[in-house]
Amino acid sequence: MELIWHGLVQAFRLIIAGDPEVMRITFLSLKVSGLATLLSLVFGIPLGAFIGLARFPGRGFVLSLINTGMALPPVVVGLFVSILLWRSGPLGVLQLLYSPTAIVIAQFILAFPVVTGLTVTAMQQIDPKLRLQLLGLGASRAQLLVQLLKEARLAMLAAVMAGFGAVISEIGASMMVGGNILGYTRVLTTATVLETAKGNFDMAIALSIILLVITFLINWGLTAIQQYGNRR
């Protein structure tokens, strides 16, 4: 137990001291996972809204695929992305392996089904008559979508948080496609694993705590938005 205490003290010290290495790692974590989440929102929300609102043959199958995507193991994604990005692989010429871009790609693949799947559910929860009512008020397709998303904002923010949560905390893919290279692709989670492997448990705990605090602050902000105006 005193390890956790040491970790707390260490975390506090690192944050106060503004250790440049830790700052850089933290910043990269946020940048990479934020970008991946953003991309997954850009693609996942329209797709999810479409699947949630439309009726077409094979819809159940597609939905199962997406839900399975929510359970994609990060190492599997890491492995597949690695294979694609290897110099000998089909996308090898891009020279992306072991770069932050590669992590963004892998994390996008992880967050995308989460955002899509939860958007589908959010859209299905809305009374279908409300769609007609909005069309009856002259909403274009895009306006309809925006209004329905606003209506489901609670569920949508949950989707954003789940997507971000899935990637900021993920290790397998970042490790495999990023390579955990110091000063280049090392993020909070891979750094934590490294410190654990080194037996520096207190440092590992300190890094975890920094990660958790940051995640908490972001979620706090999002929760505040989510709950705001939901006091019916």
């Binding site: 009374d127 008559k129 409300l130 007609l132 009512q133 909005l134 069309l135 009856g136 008020l137 002259g138 909403a139 274009s140 397709r141 306006q143 209004q147 606003k150 209506e151 105006g229 939901n230 006091r231 019916r232």
Partner: protein
Amino acid sequence: MSAAVIEARDLRVAYGDRTTLALETLTVQRREILAVVGPNGAGKSTLLRILALLEAPAAGVVRFDSEPVRYDSRSLLPMRRRIATVFQSPLLCNTTVFGNISLGLRFRSIPKPEIDKKVSLWADRFGVAHLLGQPAATLSGGEAQRVSLARAFVLDPEVLFLDEPFSALDQPTREGLIAELEGVLRESKVTTVFVTHDRNETLHFGDRVAVVMGGRLAQVDAPERVFSSPVSEEVARFVGVENILRGVVLEQREGIGVVSLDFGQIQVATEAKAGEHVLVCLRPEEIVLARPDASFAHESMRNVLQGRVDQVIPIGAQLRVRMNTGIPLTALITKQSWQELSLAEGQPVQAAFKASAAHVIRRREN
């Protein structure tokens, strides 16, 4: 008659294997107010959704401004923007009252100052101006309905579809609104289609009435015509003809027929020929009551029946008097007249009606 704004032909809508709607032709004329009435589940709301271009029929053609409607969102949007729809239950978005009323205006990218002006005008008109900042989810039933009305009227549409728009309003507001809206609609020449269960609204508001029953158009006519001359027994019952008598025409001369009923004969205005089976419809307000000893001065009261008062039920300022004259009859009478008659339940009574007061439905078969 002016041109049809909306014209529907051979519409068919089915859910599962149940046909919910099947009608041949319905046109909505420019600037008319068309009332749609019918029993619950008849298909009125479904019809409205089709006419408002919110749902594609399984079969049939809808024309908007003479153009056949193509159901892709690109061609629908400009048409829908000329229409506004108020649904049966006020489906408000989870935002403020202002947010809801301004929704359609924002969809049309109207500039903010204009939105503010229009919203406050219509919020005021529908008595919700004091609620503009309140979350829509906390409104009372009537307040919600007012907001959903304001949300449509603020759009200044060419065609307005209203599905039981006043059902949750308190009576003074309702009466006030109807009077006011009628003025507004007629003056601004908005084509209006509205569903209602209220006979007064139908009579007062509608230029024409479409009676929907079991997914079909049973009758489309002027309001007075529908009420006074229903085309079938179902329509008659639906529009509140409480006295429907089955009989056979014995003879007919100069438009006055003698009809034989189970308990005797009556004279009614009809073109039906001798031997035809008919239904005689008598609105309760057409029956005049008198003390059993009175004699009817008016010569036009061709039919005088003797009976006994069964039950007296107050309906607002009036009374519904049920009596037995061989067959049960119901009359509607003011409280004042009833007091002057000084009759009571169980006492004998005379009931009389003019030959022209009855409406006769000729039946194909028995």
